[in-house]
């Protein structure tokens, strides 16, 4: 006998088909590591996103309280493992700031070469993985092909391909091998025309534009309010880059270099003359703009490395002698932020006068960039979640530390 209900609507209330909790991650490929998102969905529309982090927490700050600053350098590598060089640089500068250690001109130019090459490698992964998030596999291979050549150059310089520990407080662990500059210059000459391929594959791709233009729009006020930095902030049209606006200790590296901050001003990007125009659907601050800022920063970095190679070959001084492991740190504290590929990476060092710091702290750029997801994804479609999170280009190692 069929079940009869007095009021057929009861069953509908009971089943509650209107809202559903969907768990994304922590092993979802499009979350760039072990990020878990809990979505509250109403059909295809997401009404609430809650990021859960901490799956990659490795107590880096606590470990830092038991090691000397030079010994902690390898731990900074493992934070943002896609831009190890830039992380080494941030920590080294922070330690040098507390020690008031001055580097020779040559060492500064060497750091510019290495940091900007690191930025290119990191943005290539960001770009390739973003294509992967949106279901386009081939750009990833094209990006990794070129990144591999940068890693080969890094391997020649320091022996490692991912966790370099090359830049260290006091300078670098070694000078560049002979012929390296020439090989680096050759790579740039070969790489620059290839950027057009990436634009053809992604930037101007009709499907890519449909997936990213007008999605996840972030106003400049919102970006600053959430502490978003780097390409995420500049993608919203804010003209702010620590390489120009940062502390003197960091900006002196870039003194005399010709470069412009990549952000849209009055509807134009610097250096956009021979690169694709902004599609008409794109709104300032959307996923497409964040992606485009990264692409233009690659061009910018190529230009900076070329300038740095010229300066390095004529500069005086040595490549910088690393400080001794047992160097006592002066009593006091120092905080310094650098412009890492993913945003402003800050290190904070408190010392009580021993060789081992009293407290170290890493201010992660991805951590702040990710905190905006809950606001950014409210009301968008489930399929747009990877597009929005991917455009923030987060690295979980850096968020969880």
């Amino acid at each position: 006998m069929p079940l009869e209900l007095e009021d057929p609507r009861v069953i509908e209330f009971d089943v509650r088909t209107d809202e559903m909790l969907v768990n994304m991650g922590p092993q979802h490929p499009s979350t760039h590591g072990v990020l878990r998102l809990v979505l509250r969905t109403d059909g295809e529309v997401v009404s609430e996103v809650e990021p859960h982090i901490g799956y990659l927490h490795r107590c880096a700050e606590k470990i830092g309280e038991n090691l000397t600053p030079r010994q902690w350098v390898p731990y900074t590598d493992r934070m943002d493992y896609l831009a190890g060089m830039n992380m080494n640089l941030g920590w080294s500068l922070c330690v040098e700031k507390l020690l008031d250690h001055q580097l020779s001109e040559k060492a500064l130019h060497l750091r510019v070469i290495i940091a900007e090459m690191g930025r290119i490698a990191s943005h290539l992964v960001g770009m390739g993985a973003y294509g992967l998030d949106l279901g386009s596999f081939s750009p990833f291979l094209y990006a990794f092909r070129e990144r591999e050549k940068i890693l080969d150059l890094f391997e020649e310089a320091c022996g490692a391909r991912l966790t370099y520990s090359y830049i260290t407080p006091g300078g670098c662990t070694a000078d560049l091998p002979s012929g390296w500059l020439q090989r680096c210059a050759d790579f740039l000459d070969q790489f620059e025309p290839i950027i057009q391929e990436y634009h053809a594959l992604l930037t101007t791709n009709a499907i890519f534009i449909k997936r990213t233009a007008g999605i996840g729009v972030m106003s400049p006020e919102m970006a600053i309010q959430y502490g978003c930095t780097g390409p995420v902030l500049r993608g919203s049209g804010v003209d702010y880059d620590l390489r120009r606006d940062g502390e003197a200790r960091y900006t002196e590296m870039y003194d005399g270099y010709a470069f412009e901050v990549i952000s849209e001003q009055n509807g134009h990007y610097p250096k956009d003359h021979d690169y694709p125009a902004v599609p008409k659907d794109a709104v300032l601050g959307d996923c497409w703009h964040r992606f485009y800022v990264r692409m233009l920063e690659v061009v910018q970095s190529v230009d900076l490395v070329r300038q740095a190679i010229d300066r390095y070959s004529t500069a005086s001084g040595d490549y910088g002698v690393p400080i001794k492991l047992t160097t006592k740190l002066p009593k006091g504290e120092a905080y310094l932020e650098t412009e890492a590929p993913r945003g402003q990476m800050g290190f904070y060092l408190v010392s009580d006068g021993n060789a081992i710091p009293w407290r170290v702290r890493a201010r992660s750029s991805s951590f702040c960039n990710l905190s905006v997801t809950a606001d950014l994804c409210r009301g968008c479609l489930i399929a747009d979640i990877p597009a929005v999170v991917g455009s923030l280009d987060v690295v979980m190692g850096e968020i969880d530390r």
Partner: protein, 176 residues
């Protein structure tokens, strides 16, 4: 604007709520009484000349030495500093604000020290305060959603405290 003018401006506005400053340090800092941190931060952000619109970082530093002989030589009483690093995108200057808290509220072990939240001033503070709560054990009163962020929700203790001891066992996983 330089450190001296920040201090004089804040002292003019908040008087004795500005409890100290060190302008000779590598990064000049200003110390604020815990109860007025939220108002001071609101002022720092909204004032047109100061305009600290970007909160870079919130950190807690635990000052505690277990060995009483060494502690006597340290030159400070045990306490926790909460450090706010902020900067201005438009004015391109930066500032460090500190708040000094007892290690435990009213000296009772297990009672977290309290400081008002600044998450209504900067949204960045939301996650940063959760992290400080999680790792250093500082309670931010008025925070909309104060729970652990990096450690599991059932974790016991505050790992970045100097007297923290690693648990022997967590859900059947050996700790040491």
């Amino acid at each position: 604007m330089t450190g001296t003018s920040f201090v004089s401006r804040l002292q003019q506005k908040f008087g004795d709520q500005i409890t100290g400053s060190n302008l000779e340090a590598v990064d000049p800092w200003i110390e604020v009484a815990p109860e007025s941190i939220a108002e001071v931060c609101q002022f720092l952000r909204d004032d047109e000349e100061l305009a600290f619109d970007l909160l870079n970082c919130i950190t807690a530093v635990d000052y505690f030495i277990a060995d009483p002989k060494k502690a006597a030589k340290a030159g400070w009483e045990p306490h926790i500093d909460v450090v706010y690093h902020m900067s201005s995108v438009s004015k391109k200057h930066s500032l460090v604000v500190k708040v000094r808290l007892p290690r435990w509220k009213d000296g009772v072990e297990g009672q977290l020290p309290e400081v008002p939240t600044v998450s209504q001033v900067w949204r960045t503070a939301d996650w940063h305060e959760r992290e400080v709560f999680d790792l250093s054990g500082v309670c931010f009163t008025g925070h909309p959603d104060l729970r652990r962020i990096l450690c599991p929700e059932d974790w016991v203790g505050y790992p970045l405290r100097k007297d923290y001891e690693m648990p022997l066992e967590y859900h059947g996983i050996r700790g040491r």
